[in-house]
């Protein structure tokens, strides 16, 4: 630690240059964080998908319905523990910009199949007793300032008319990355009021006794409804989420490519900065060696400067990114999993250090090999 003032003093030699280099790191790491967040937003559904859940959708497309009558037939298949279903509502609250996902749900089984959403018992009971009741995620409630008892008007887009709901409960997630944007209301309310599609639902979610039952239950469901007007396609929740994410293209490749270009550029910028920083004080490094500082010390001094720049810039960029994501999904619903996880922050710091070492290693080695006699002659 007694050498720290020397490292810090050297960084303040050219304040603007140091600030710009730290800024480069900060921008790069902010971008890295953002790319991780976006990647996560597209694939988080895959990560949080339950291993013991199957999704049953219409074989033609997820937007095609399935009959409510399938419910009991599926429930009889060995290995099936519970079943619930959802129906996409797609309404508009005040303005189309205020998007959030709304589902008509099966209140009897929703909590059995999705135990990760925590709702106080009294709120759930109030929801069950109110045909126009709704449960909303804490993210959406916070976004619009809703509280329990509020009456929320939603304009139907698929099912025309003005629909009104009473907020009866607010759910929380069990994990930081659980989706807190959903709005649930009772399927019966939808089915009674809508003019078409009666007796149909959007898709089923099947809870299995064990993840080991997935293959045979999957096969049994699809065979059961083969050659019917509503053929099914059954997948694990993870596979469905993965298919959904792939619709947007190869996000992973895009993110890795952009990230690689950013970090390579950063490596060049920082490497150049460190090379200049060493070149312009060759005489000073020679004096340090003359008075007894070892070659290795001089190397670590230069590497230390490079690492300190990387650490400050990296932490700054990742910190700003974390703050940015704390504000929640900026698209208001399109990316519900807008979240920078801590492992990504650790990875970002590791990458920043790696770039710091790579950028500093050549100038540091040059400084280490510097011959005092030659360097002093140049002063």
């Amino acid at each position: 630690m007694k050498y720290m003032p020397l490292i810090i003093a050297n960084l303040f030699r050219k304040k603007l240059r140091t600030a710009l280099t730290i800024g480069s790191f900060a921008v790069a790491l902010f971008l890295f964080g953002l790319l991780v967040v976006v990647r996560g937003a597209f694939s988080q559904g895959v990560d949080v998908a339950g291993a013991d859940r199957l999704d049953v959708i219409n074989k033609v497309s997820i937007i095609q319905p399935l009959p409510y009558a399938y419910r009991d037939q599926i429930l009889r298949i060995p290995g099936v523990k519970a079943i619930t279903f959802d129906e996409w509502f797609g309404g508009v609250y005040q303005d189309e910009k205020n998007f959030f996902p709304q589902f008509a749900v099966d209140p009897d089984n929703q909590r059995v199949v999705y135990p990760e959403f925590a709702i106080p018992e009294d709120q759930w009971k109030a929801f069950l007793q109110d045909r126009e009741g709704a449960i909303v995620g804490s993210g959406t409630a916070k976004r619009f300032g809703w509280k329990i008892g509020d009456r929320i008007p939603i304009k139907g887009a698929i099912y025309p008319g003005n629909w009104e709901f009473n907020i009866r409960g607010i759910y929380q997630g069990a994990k930081d990355n659980d989706d807190l944007t959903q709005f649930w209301f009772q399927y019966k309310y939808l089915d009674e009021r809508r003019q078409f599609g009666k007796g149909l639902i959007g898709w089923y979610i099947v809870k299995l006794n064990s993840p080991d039952d997935a293959t045979h239950v999957q096969k049994a469901i699809d065979q059961m409804f083969a050659n019917s007007p509503y053929e099914t396609k059954t997948e694990t929740e993870k596979a469905l989420a993965s298919d959904f994410a792939k619709q947007f293209g190869n996000i992973e490749l895009l993110i890795v490519s952009v990230g690689a270009v950013v970090f390579f550029t950063l490596l060049l910028v920082t490497g150049n900065t460190m090379a200049i920083a060493v070149r312009e004080r060759i005489g000073e490094l020679a004096v340090l060696k003359a008075v007894g500082f070892s070659d290795r010390f001089v190397m670590f001094l230069v590497l230390g400067e490079s690492l300190l720049i990387a650490a400050v810039g990296g932490l700054l960029g990742l910190g700003i990114c974390k703050l940015f994501t704390l504000g929640g999904d900026p698209t208001h619903g399109f990316l519900p999993f807008f979240y920078l996880p801590y492992p990504a922050i650790v990875l970002g710091i590791v990458i920043a250090f790696a770039v710091g070492i790579l950028a500093g290693i050549l100038p540091a080695t040059g400084a280490m090999r510097l011959r005092v006699v030659d360097a002093l002659r140049r002063v």
């Binding site: 003093a9 030699r13 007894g292």
Partner: protein, 243 residues
């Protein structure tokens, strides 16, 4: 006592025997120093003079372990330094040599205090002990009130005094001064020479100084001339081998 005939006793602080330094430039060999002998006792203040290219700085570099000779031996305070490895030489320099350069070579981003403290960072002294040493060295050069100044806030003479403080702070065996007054006006140069004289007389510091300035050389107890790689005695003692 200073001798250049190789006849000094084993008690000399610095003993040089048959020292050669040859550079190869292109295909040509340049003999900078040839068969040089030198004995310097502790507490001597020796000036080296000679035309440019005569090998003065090369001799200083060899003596301070910054360069290695082509042949011959250098023994300082009982240590044969000619065969030491690079790392050993670095450690040896930290203990035995205090450097004073023509251009001061202070680190501009460090205060005078921090510049003087640098050699002490290599020791096991505590922070408070280092502070005491630095304060003492700064007082010796008369800059106790300038410790928090940066080099840019000091005059050339003051910068050189800080450099002297840096050179003496770890109490090295000898001081190596390469044109210490070469970049200074007469008055500042006199101030620097007064300090060096005091260090020699009051603190018995051994000082080896390269200079072009005859007035600076006059302050030394002995002056040696280097000419074409050969060391000859000073004018004042040209008649004998003792200087």
């Amino acid at each position: 006592m200073v001798r250049v005939d190789g006849g000094g006793g084993a008690g000399s602080l610095i003993q040089i025997r048959g020292l050669d330094k040859t550079y190869r430039r292109g295909g040509e060999e340049i003999h900078v120093l040839q068969g040089l002998n030198l004995d310097v006792d502790k507490g001597e203040f020796v000036a080296f003079m000679g035309p440019s290219g005569s090998g003065k700085t090369t001799l200083l570099n060899l003596l301070s372990g910054l360069d290695v000779p082509s042949r011959g031996s250098i023994v300082v305070a009982g240590d044969e330094i000619t065969h030491m490895s690079g790392n050993k030489l670095t450690e040896w320099r930290a203990r035995h040599v205090g450097f004073i350069f023509q251009m001061y070579n202070l680190i501009p981003v460090l205060t005078a205090f921090q510049n003087v403290e640098l050699p002490l960072l290599l020791t096991k002294l505590s922070k408070s002990e280092r502070r005491k040493h630095v304060e003492t060295a700064m007082a010796v050069v008369g800059l106790a009130d300038r410790m928090d100044h940066y080099p840019r806030q000091l005059s050339g003479g003051q910068e050189q005094r800080v450099a002297i403080a840096r050179a003496i702070v770890a109490d090295p065996t000898f001081l190596m001064c390469d044109e210490p007054t070469g970049d200074l006006d007469r008055k500042s140069a006199d101030d620097i020479l007064n300090i060096l004289t005091r260090l020699s007389k009051e603190y018995a510091k051994t000082i080896l100084m390269v200079t072009h300035d005859p007035m600076a050389a006059e302050r030394a107890q002995a002056t040696l001339h280097l000419n074409k790689g050969v060391l000859v005695e000073g004018v004042a003692a040209a008649a004998g081998s003792h200087v």
